[in-house]
């Protein structure tokens, strides 16, 4: 610019030249973008989220848009966890889903999905249950959470006692569907707490108005009673064996010998089937075929 421009016209660059230059530079930067996209930079995906100490603080920083942010992080989390190329993605599962729940306590899906990911993908059942517990704590009307918890406890951990606790919690939620009570009763049975199971099924039987449910309850009552009775009978047989060194010929012998107070009958009033050679006692009817 040291030399004065001597343009006869005096205008700056002509518009055509500028337009050409515009398109050229556009083309170049777009090509460069393709290049830079190709360069692989090591990323720590989600590092920015991992870094946030707690959702509580984040909530203050978001000026009331916390639920939107919860949505965004949740959507991101789903993409993140669907990417099987990130082997370390489960390290911050707890952290990320805690943040989401702290941002928006009543956003229900993340509790459930987080628990699902924890249970089936990260194989961390405790975390799954923790998430479900939090879900219930913040949303006491959601029976679904403890129900799922019971389900996981039963299916994955195979911890019937734990499952039973969860089903009880689920059952107690206001507005919970009746089937939960049946699941609870069933879990009691599976946890081998037969007396309580009996009680529970009795209660269901007595309080339900649905014929089908009554039938189911009665079947389960049958089974529970049968199990208790058979247990008692078997105990008596053992005592008999100890005393007399052999199985009793029939069950009435147990009563005569004083090992049983009275001979228990099944719910329908029928006698239990006893095979003296093996000492096996069975219910006369298959409980679910009644």
């Amino acid at each position: 610019m040291a030399v004065r421009k001597k343009s006869g016209h005096g205008k700056d660059f002509s518009p055509i030249f500028l337009a050409f230059f515009l398109i050229l530079s556009c083309g170049v930067f777009m090509a460069l973008k393709v290049e830079t996209d190709g360069i692989i930079r090591k990323k720590i995906p989600g590092s920015s989220i991992i870094y946030i100490p707690s959702g509580k603080y984040l909530k203050f920083a978001t000026f009331g848009y916390s639920s939107l942010l919860a949505d965004i992080i949740y959507v991101w989390a789903i993409q993140y966890y669907s990417d099987y190329n990130i082997p370390e993605r489960f390290e911050y599962l707890d952290h990320i889903f805690s943040i989401i729940s702290e941002l928006d306590l009543h956003y229900l899906d993340p509790y459930d999905t987080g628990a699902l990911i924890a249970a089936y993908e990260a194989q961390d059942l405790d975390l799954a249950l923790k998430l479900l517990d939090k879900g219930l704590e913040k949303n006491p009307d959601q029976w679904f959470f403890p129900y799922t918890g019971g389900h996981y406890a039963q299916m994955i951990k195979k911890d019937q006692k734990l499952a039973q606790e969860y089903y009880k919690k689920a059952m107690e939620v206001k507005g919970a569907p009746d089937i939960l009570r049946r699941l609870y009763a069933d879990s009691l049975y599976k946890a081998m707490d037969y007396q309580s199971a009996l009680q529970a099924w009795l209660e269901i039987y007595q309080t339900t108005t649905d014929e089908r449910v009554k039938k189911i309850a009665s079947n389960h009552l049958y089974r529970a009673k049968a199990t208790i009775d058979i247990q008692n009978i078997k105990e008596a047989i053992e005592k008999f064996k100890q005393r007399f060194g052999r199985n009793p010929m029939d069950l009435s012998q147990l009563v005569k010998a004083g090992f049983l107070g009275s001979l228990p009958k099944d719910l329908d009033g029928k006698e239990y089937v006893y095979v003296p050679q093996t000492g096996e006692v069975e219910a006369p009817t298959i409980w679910w075929k009644r």
Binding site: M1, A2, R4, K5, D12, F13, P15, L18, A19, F21, L22, S25, C26, V28, F29, M30, L32, K33, V34, E35, T36, D37, I39, I40, R41, K42, K43, I44, S47, S48, Y51, P53, Q79
Partner: protein
């Protein structure tokens, strides 16, 4: 050189803008506050200071670039100082470029100031100077040069509030263009997808200048990207300034 004279003049004017010092103050507060925040974490304390520091430099730098760029041009047009300049024997492009370089110079000075505070705080903590931090800051500067050119473009034809909003949108979109890429992957191939891909390549990718994470986590950076990112920045800036010039040439100053 005429562009140089205008640039220097712009610098002298911009450096007196109080908004800059307000933002500088906030940035300094953030950086110093991070020092205190670092006491609350367990483990690597310097990481927080570095993260907060670089984020402050980037964010407040962007705000400075936008507010200063928009405000300055608006003031010239509003107060009519631009009339006295444009009737002198200068081309309009010389005026525009002079303004741009003046703004860039101001930004450089402000960024240097903030960087010194930042590096001082880090030094007080670790007693060493990491050159990688300087790399991250350098690319923050390149990013801000691009943002400034955008602010200049919008203020050539729009009101200051709209210009600020548009420039801010540019900055935000630039940092989330990868979202567009993710979305495009899920679209069925066809005309829509091709158009979307074209759009994706056009939309600015400010993440190209973002080395904050790599620097703080001490990850390796492929050297190729330095060259390509710089070139990307240069050509995008040229594009924006050319656009600004096209708009500016035809503008009437009533």
């Amino acid at each position: 050189m005429k562009i140089g004279a205008i640039a220097l003049n712009t610098f002298k004017e911009a450096i007196r803008d109080r908004i800059l010092y307000l933002l500088f103050f906030f940035a300094a507060v953030c950086i110093i506050f991070s020092r205190i925040l670092a006491l609350l974490t367990v483990g690597d304390r310097v990481k927080i200071i570095k993260d907060v520091g670089l984020a402050s430099l980037s964010l407040f730098g962007a705000l400075m670039a936008i507010l200063m760029g928009v405000g300055l041009v608006f003031k010239e047009i509003d107060k009519r100082t631009i009339h006295t300049l444009l009737v002198k024997p200068i081309h309009r492009y010389q005026f525009l470029l002079g303004k741009y370089f003046g703004l860039v110079l101001t930004l450089l000075v402000m960024l240097l100031g903030m960087s010194i505070i930042f590096l001082a705080v880090i030094f007080a903590h670790t007693f060493k100077l990491e050159w990688q931090l300087l790399v991250a800051i350098l690319f923050i500067f390149f990013e801000l040069c691009l943002v400034t050119s955008v602010a200049l473009l919008f203020s050539c034809f729009s009101t200051p509030i709209l210009s600020s909003l548009f420039s801010l949108s540019f900055y935000l979109i630039g940092h989330f263009s990868w979202g567009l890429e993710t979305l495009i992957k899920k679209v069925k191939p066809g005309l829509g997808k091709t158009l979307a891909q074209l759009l994706y390549h056009f939309v600015p990718d400010l993440e190209n200048f973002n080395f904050k994470m790599e620097v703080v986590q001490k990850l390796p950076i492929p050297p190729k990207i330095f060259l390509f990112s710089t070139l990307y920045g240069i050509f995008y800036t040229v594009f924006v300034l050319t656009l600004a010039l096209l708009v500016f040439r035809k503008r009437d100053f009533i």
